[in-house]
C-alpha cells in the first residue's frame, strides 16, 4: 500500500518525464519535442522508508477539454485524487507555466512547484528570487535540474511535507466584478449538491461554457430547475462577450504579478546557440534540403555502421552458433525432425531476424539522438508549408518521423493534433513511414543486389514511402476528410546535446522490443509455419506439396504480375502481418530447408530466387503493404472503431500491390531484369 499519490503536471516539454525517471528510476521515453507523453504513466519510489505512487501526466498548456491529452490530465487530477501535485515549471518560461499552476490551485489541489531547468535559464541571464516567488504564490517553489538529478530530493521532501499538512488551497485569482458576481450566485445554487469537483472551480467552468462539465452537471441527479434556468439565462445574456478570455486574462495577470520583482530578465535577449543554428536550419531555402541531408546521413550511417561493419559480425556469430548447434545435435543423435526445426526454424528463421540487431541498434541510436536534440520541432516547421498544400499541417510530420522508428508511437503522437481531420489523415498515412522492423527485409535484398549503393537505395525507399504518404494525404483531404486543416502553432524548444543516458535508454527500449518480438511473436509464427512446411510427413519437407506449400501456391498467383510468384515469397508476406521481421525469418527458414546445399545463407538464396527488378518490387511491396497487427490495433484503439483498421489493412495492401506490379511491368517493358 502506497502512502500517497503524487501527480506530475506541467507544460509540454517542461521535463516531466525526465523528472519521473529520476524519481522512480524507470525508463520512460523522453524526447525534446512537445508531446512525447500522450498517456499517463505510473511508477513508485521509496522515501524515508515509505512508498509513494507517482503518475506522470501528459504535458498540457491548460486543463480545458480541447484535446485528448488535456482530457487525460484533467480527469486524473479530478477523479484520480492525487494527494499532492508536483507542478513542473520551465524556469525560462515562468508566466505561461504559471497559468497552468493557477488552474491547479483553483481545483483545490495541494501544489508544489519544481522550477525546472534553472541551468538553462541562468545561461540566458535570468535571475530568480525563489523565496519571493514562493511567498507571492503561496506555495513551495524548489529549483531543480531534473536531467542532472539536482533538487529532486528537496522537491520530494517539500511535496510529502505538504501532503501531510492539512491545508486547503486558497483561491489565488480574483476576477472582475461581473464574473465574481456570477461565481457567487452559481456557488449558492450548487451548495449541498455533492459535486465531485470543488464548487468555485465548477462555477468557473460553467461560466467558461466547458461542455464536459456542463454535460456532467446536466446528468447529475441533484440538478434542479433553478440552476438550469440560471445557466441558460447566463449564456443567453453573455453570448456576445468573451468572458472566457477575461478569465484567462485574470489568471495571467496573477502570474505576472507573482513574477514582477521576483524574476529579472536581461533587457536585451542574449543570442543563444539555438538562435544561430535556427538561422540556418529554418532558412526558407535551406530548411528542406537540410532535412533531407540529415535523413540521408541517418540512413547512410545505419547501413554502413549497422550492416556493413557490425552486421557481418552478428551474422558470423549466428552462423557460427548454428554450425556448432548442428554438430552438437548430430553428436547427440537428436531426431532428424528436431534438428531440422532447430537449424532451419530457430537458427535460420529467428536467427535471421536477430542478425539485424546491430542495424536496428544504429537506426534507433540516430533517431533517439534526433529526437533529443530538439530538431523534431524544426522539421515540423520546415514542412508546414508543403504539408498545408497537401491538406495537413507541419506538426503531423513529427508523427511521421516517429513512425520511422515504429508506427505505434507515431500514430499515438497524432493525439497532440488539435483537429480530427489532421489526426485521421496522419494516422492513415503513418504506415507508409517504413519502420525499423522492415529494415532487415531491405537489408537482405540490398546486400544481394544493390550492395554498392546501400545507403542511397535505403534512403530512396524511405523517401518513396514519404512520397506515397503525402500523395495519400492529399487524396484523403479531398475525399474522406474535407475541411480546413487546423492552425499551426508550436514551440521550438532550445537545442540540447542529448544526454548519453537518454539516447542509450531510448535505443535499448527499441532493441529490447525487437529482441522480445523475435523471441515471442516471430518465434511462434516461424514455428507454426515450420510445422506446416514439414507436414504431411509423406511429402518432401519445404516443398510445394507440404501444407504450407499448397497454401502458398494458392495465393502466389496474386503476386505473379509483380514478378515474385513463388509460394515462399507469398507466404513470407503474410507472415509479416503479425510482425514485419517475420518476412525475413520465414524466407530464411523456407530457403534454408530448400537450398541446403547453398550453405543456407539467406542472401545467396535470395540471389537465386530474385532478380534486381523483382527484388525492387518486393521491397516496395513490403514498404507499402498492410502494417503489422500492433499498428492496426492501435489504429482501432485510437479511432475507437473496427472500420478504420480494416480499411487501413486493405487499402495499404492494394496500394503496395499496385506499386509492385507497376514497377515490375514498367521495368520489364524497359528491358530491366
Amino acid at each position: 500500500m502506497a502512502s500517497g499519490t503524487i501527480a506530475l503536471v506541467g507544460n509540454p516539454n517542461s521535463g516531466k518525464t525526465t523528472f519521473f525517471n529520476a524519481l522512480t528510476g524507470s525508463n520512460q521515453h523522453v524526447g525534446n519535442w512537445p508531446g512525447v507523453t500522450v498517456e499517463k504513466k505510473e511508477g513508485s519510489f521509496k522515501f524515508e522508508g515509505e512508498k509513494y505512487h507517482v503518475v506522470d501526466l501528459p504535458g498540457t498548456y491548460s486543463l480545458g477539454a480541447f484535446s485528448e491529452d488535456e482530457v487525460v490530465a484533467r480527469n486524473f487530477i479530478l477523479t484520480g485524487n492525487p494527494d499532492v501535485i508536483i507542478d513542473v515549471v520551465d524556469a525560462s518560461n515562468i508566466e505561461r507555466n504559471l497559468y497552468l499552476t493557477t488552474q491547479l490551485l483553483e481545483m483545490g489541489k495541494k501544489v508544489v512547484i519544481a522550477l525546472n531547468m534553472v541551468d538553462e535559464a541562468e545561461k540566458r541571464n535570468i535571475d530568480f528570487d525563489i523565496d519571493g516567488l514562493s511567498k507571492k504564490l503561496g506555495i513551495p517553489v524548489i529549483p531543480t535540474i531534473a536531467t542532472k538529478g539536482k533538487g529532486i530530493k528537496d522537491i520530494v521532501k517539500a511535496a510529502i511535507d505538504l501532503m501531510n499538512r492539512n491545508m486547503a488551497a486558497e483561491n489565488p485569482v480574483q476576477y472582475g466584478e461581473t464574473i465574481e458576481h456570477h461565481i457567487r450566485n452559481i456557488e449558492r445554487l450548487l451548495a449541498g449538491k455533492e459535486l465531485p469537483y470543488p464548487t468555485r472551480w465548477t462555477a468557473l467552468k460553467i461560466i467558461e461554457g466547458d461542455q464536459e462539465i456542463l454535460n456532467n452537471i446536466k446528468q447529475s441527479p441533484h440538478l434542479d430547475q433553478n440552476l438550469t434556468d440560471y445557466i441558460e439565462k447566463f449564456h443567453q445574456d453573455h453570448r456576445n462577450e468573451d468572458l472566457e478570455l477575461e478569465i484567462i486574462d485574470a489568471k495571467y495577470s496573477f502570474a505576472n504579478k507573482a513574477v514582477d520583482g521576483t524574476i529579472k530578465r536581461p533587457a536585451e535577449e542574449t543570442v543563444t546557440i539555438t538562435d544561430k543554428i535556427d538561422r540556418i536550419f529554418t532558412n526558407k531555402y535551406l530548411g528542406i534540403p537540410i532535412f533531407a541531408g540529415i535523413m540521408l546521413i541517418v540512413f547512410q550511417l545505419t547501413f554502413v555502421l549497422g550492416e556493413e561493419i557490425l552486421g557481418g559480425l552478428a551474422a558470423d556469430l549466428i552462423d557460427g552458433l548454428g554450425g556448432l548447434l548442428a554438430m552438437f545435435l548430430v553428436y547427440l543423435g537428436a531426431p532428424g525432425l528436431f534438428t531440422s526445426f532447430m537449424i532451419d526454424g530457430v537458427i535460420n528463421g529467428v536467427g535471421a531476424v536477430v542478425e539485424f540487431v546491430p542495424l536496428i541498434l544504429v537506426l534507433y541510436l540516430l533517431l533517439s539522438f534526433l529526437e533529443d536534440s530538439g530538431y523534431m520541432a524544426r522539421a515540423a516547421y520546415v514542412w508546414d508549408d508543403l504539408m498545408r498544400r497537401l491538406g495537413l499541417q507541419g506538426k503531423a510530420f513529427i508523427s511521421l518521423i516517429i513512425g520511422f522508428g515504429c508506427n505505434v508511437p507515431g500514430i499515438m503522437s497524432a493525439r497532440t493534433l488539435d483537429n480530427k481531420k489532421d489526426r485521421m489523415i496522419t494516422t492513415l498515412i503513418t504506415p507508409f513511414m517504413s519502420c525499423g522492423a522492415k529494415l532487415p527485409i531491405y537489408s537482405i535484398f540490398i546486400a544481394a543486389f544493390f550492395s554498392r549503393h546501400g545507403g542511397l537505395i535505403l534512403f530512396s525507399l524511405y523517401a518513396f514511402g514519404i512520397l506515397v504518404g503525402l500523395i495519400m494525404a492529399k487524396i484523403f483531404s479531398k475525399t474522406l476528410f474535407k475541411g480546413e486543416s487546423s492552425y499551426f502553432i508550436m514551440e521550438l524548444p532550445p537545442y540540447r546535446i542529448p544526454t548519453l543516458r537518454n539516447v542509450l535508454r531510448n535505443m535499448w527500449d527499441n532493441v529490447y522490443g525487437f529482441l522480445k518480438r523475435a523471441g515471442t511473436v516471430i518465434f511462434v509464427v516461424i514455428t507454426l509455419l515450420w510445422v506446416l512446411a514439414v507436414l504431411p510427413v509423406s511429402v518432401e519437407p519445404y516443398s510445394q506439396l507440404s501444407i504450407l506449400g499448397r497454401i502458398g501456391a494458392f495465393i502466389a498467383p496474386i503476386f505473379a504480375p509483380a514478378g515474385f510468384g513463388s509460394w515462399q515469397e507469398s507466404v513470407a508476406l503474410f507472415a509479416g502481418i503479425p510482425a514485419k521481421e517475420a518476412v525475413v525469418g520465414t524466407l530464411g527458414m523456407l530457403y534454408a530447408g530448400q537450398y541446403v546445399e547453398q550453405g543456407a545463407i539467406l542472401v545467396n538464396a535470395v540471389k537465386l530466387q530474385f532478380t534486381s527488378l523483382t527484388a525492387l518490387s518486393y521491397m516496395v511491396m513490403t514498404l507499402l503493404y498492410t502494417p503489422c497487427i500492433a499498428t492496426l490495433s492501435v489504429v482501432g484503439k485510437e479511432t475507437n472503431s473496427l472500420k478504420w483498421p480494416l480499411f487501413m489493412a486493405l487499402y495499404t495492401f492494394a496500394l503496395g500491390w499496385l506499386a509492385a506490379v507497376a514497377i515490375f511491368q514498367v521495368g520489364s517493358l524497359l528491358g530491366f531484369s
Binding site: 540566458r124 484567462i248 529554418t282 492552425y487 514551440e491
Partner: protein, 79 residues
C-alpha cells in the same frame, strides 16, 4: 500603432493588442502565451510559419494565425 503580426519584419517588437481568430484558436493562443499585453519579438517572417520570441521562448505560428494577431508596435526595425 497597431499592426498584424504577419506584416512585421524580423526584429520588430510589440505587445499583443487583440486577437481576431475563432474561439478555439484564440483560446489556444492565449494559453500558449499570446495573451493581451504579452511582449512579442519577431524572429523570422519570410516564408512558412512566422517565428516569434515570447520572453526568449521561440514559438512558430502559421501565417493564417499570424494575420489574426494585432500587435501594438514599440519598435520596427528593417534588418
Amino acid at each position: 500603432m497597431n499592426k498584424a503580426l504577419l506584416t512585421l519584419n524580423k526584429g520588430a517588437t510589440g505587445k499583443v493588442k487583440m486577437i481576431e481568430a475563432g474561439r478555439c484558436a484564440t483560446r489556444r493562443l492565449y494559453e500558449m502565451g499570446f495573451n493581451i499585453g504579452a511582449p512579442v519579438k519577431v524572429i523570422k517572417n519570410d516564408a512558412g510559419p512566422v517565428i516569434v520570441s515570447l520572453t526568449g521562448n521561440k514559438v512558430a505560428l502559421g501565417r493564417g494565425l499570424a494575420k489574426k494577431i494585432q500587435l501594438e508596435i514599440s519598435n520596427i526595425t528593417n534588418n
